[in-house]
Symmetry: C2
Subunit: 243 residues, 2 copies
C-alpha cells in the first residue's frame, strides 16, 4: 500500500491531474509505476507502440526525431513536471519522437490502455487532456514559426527570454542544459550558438559560462520581434470547466 499512495501523491502534484477527482487519480495510480533511467538511456524510440503515458518527475529528457539519412534533431527538451507523449497514447498510434534521458531521470508511467479507458469514462479527465493537447499543439506551432520566421540569433534570444519568464521574470538566469544540447534544440551547430551568443551582446545579453544576464529585456524583445499575444512562452494550464 505504501508504493500505491506514493504514486497517488505524485499524481496529485502533476498539474495535468490537479483538477481531477481523487477517485480518478486513484484509478490512474493503480496501473502507474515509477521508472528510472541513466543518462543516455532511451525511454522509448520513435515508431514504438504508445504503451505508456510518461510523466517526468526528475531530470531532463530530450525528445528527438530521426536519424533520417544520418541526421537527428532535438525537437524538445523537457523538464519536470511534464507529460509526454500524450497525443500518441490517446490515439494509440506510434510515438513520433524518441525520448532519451539527459541526466538521471525518474518518470511515472501510466499504461496507455488505462489512460484511454479512463479518458473515455471520466469527462473531467477528458477536459484535462484537451487542455494539455491544445497547449502542446500551440507550442509546436510556435516551434514551426520560430524555425521559419526567425534567425538563429533571434531563436536564441526567444529561448533566453522564455527561460527568464519561467524563472519569474528576472534578468539573470542559469542555462538549464549544456550548450551543445541547447544548440541542437535551436537547430544550430555548437559553433553557430557561440556566434549567436556573441551577436546577442549588442542586445545587452551577457553569457558567462552557464550564467546569463539580460541587461535590456525590452531591447531583446524588440530584436526578437516578440509579439506579446503570440509568443507567450510559458502558457498557463487552463482546463475547461462547466459553465
Amino acid at each position: 500500500m505504501q508504493s500505491l499512495s506514493e504514486t497517488e501523491l505524485a499524481l496529485c502534484r502533476v498539474p495535468l491531474f490537479c483538477d481531477v477527482a481523487p477517485e480518478v487519480v486513484h484509478k490512474l495510480s493503480l496501473g502507474a509505476s515509477f521508472a528510472s533511467y541513466e543518462p543516455g538511456e532511451f525511454l522509448f524510440k520513435a515508431g514504438g507502440r504508445p504503451d505508456y503515458l510518461y510523466i517526468l518527475m526528475e531530470g531532463a529528457v530530450k525528445m528527438t526525431a530521426g536519424p533520417l539519412g544520418g541526421r537527428e534533431s532535438v525537437i524538445e527538451l523537457l523538464q519536470p513536471v511534464d507529460n509526454f507523449l500524450t497525443a500518441a497514447v490517446l490515439t494509440d498510434k506510434p510515438y513520433l519522437m524518441s525520448a532519451q534521458a539527459v541526466d538521471h531521470v525518474r518518470v511515472l508511467t501510466i499504461p496507455g490502455t488505462v489512460v484511454r479507458q479512463l479518458v473515455s469514462a471520466e469527462p473531467q479527465l477528458a477536459l484535462t487532456m484537451i487542455a494539455s493537447l491544445a497547449n502542446q499543439y500551440r507550442q509546436m506551432v510556435r516551434h514551426v514559426k520560430d524555425l521559419r520566421l526567425r534567425t538563429a540569433v533571434q531563436r536564441l534570444g526567444i529561448y533566453l527570454l522564455g527561460l527568464a519568464e519561467k524563472e519569474g521574470g528576472g534578468d539573470t538566469l542559469a542555462l538549464p542544459f549544456v550548450k551543445k544540447l541547447i544548440a541542437a534544440r535551436l537547430n544550430m551547430t555548437p559553433e553557430n550558438l557561440s556566434r549567436a551568443i556573441v551577436a546577442l551582446r549588442a542586445e545587452g545579453v551577457d553569457v558567462r559560462d552557464d550564467e546569463v544576464h539580460l541587461r535590456d529585456i525590452h531591447a531583446l524583445r524588440r530584436f526578437c520581434n516578440v509579439d506579446t499575444l503570440l509568443d507567450e512562452l510559458d502558457e498557463e494550464f487552463v482546463v475547461l470547466t462547466e459553465r
Copy 2:
C-alpha cells in the same frame, strides 16, 4: 427552419462530428452559421480572440504566421472538410495563425462559447475534440521534422507522396494549388521549387504544368527517407470509444 437544417446536415458531414449524437449536433447548429470569403480576404488574423471554430466546407484556406520583421510564412494549406483553429477555441486563447481565403471559400462558423460549453457538457464531443487535437499535434510534429531533417527537394517529394496517397494511392495527381503557394508551404522560394522539380526527375517524378506523374513511388519514398510508421501522411480520424 430551412437554414437551420442545412446547418445540421452540413455538420453531420464533417468527420469531426460524425460520431456525435444528433442532439449534440443540433445544439452545435443553433449558434452555427455559414460565411463566405472572396480570394485574398482574411477570415481572421493572428492575435485575434478565438470567437469561432471554423469548418472549411468549400475552397482553400492558407494559414499564415507573421509577418515578423517583414517575413510571412504559410504554415498550412487547408482543403475541405477541415476544422481550424480548434486549439485556440478550446483554450480561449488568441489565434496563433492568420487565415486567408485562397479562392472562393465557404465556412461554417460555430461560436467558441458554444463549443467550449458543449465540450464541457458532452463527453462524446470531448473525445472527438481529443482525437482532432491529437491528430493536429502530430501533423505539426511532422512539419517540424520535415523542416529540420529533410532537404527542400525531399520536402517536395514528401508533399507529392502525400497528395498521391490522398487521391487513392495512384501514380498520377493534379497539383491542388498554384506553384507559388506550394513553394511557400514548403518553405521555399518559387525558384527553389522549380529547381526541386528538376532535381526530382532523377527520382522518376514528371511535372507538366499542374499534372504530376510519379513513375517510381518506391524510389521516391526511399529518396525522401519515408518511414511507414512515422510519415503516415493522411492520418485517419480515430475517436476514442468506451471499452
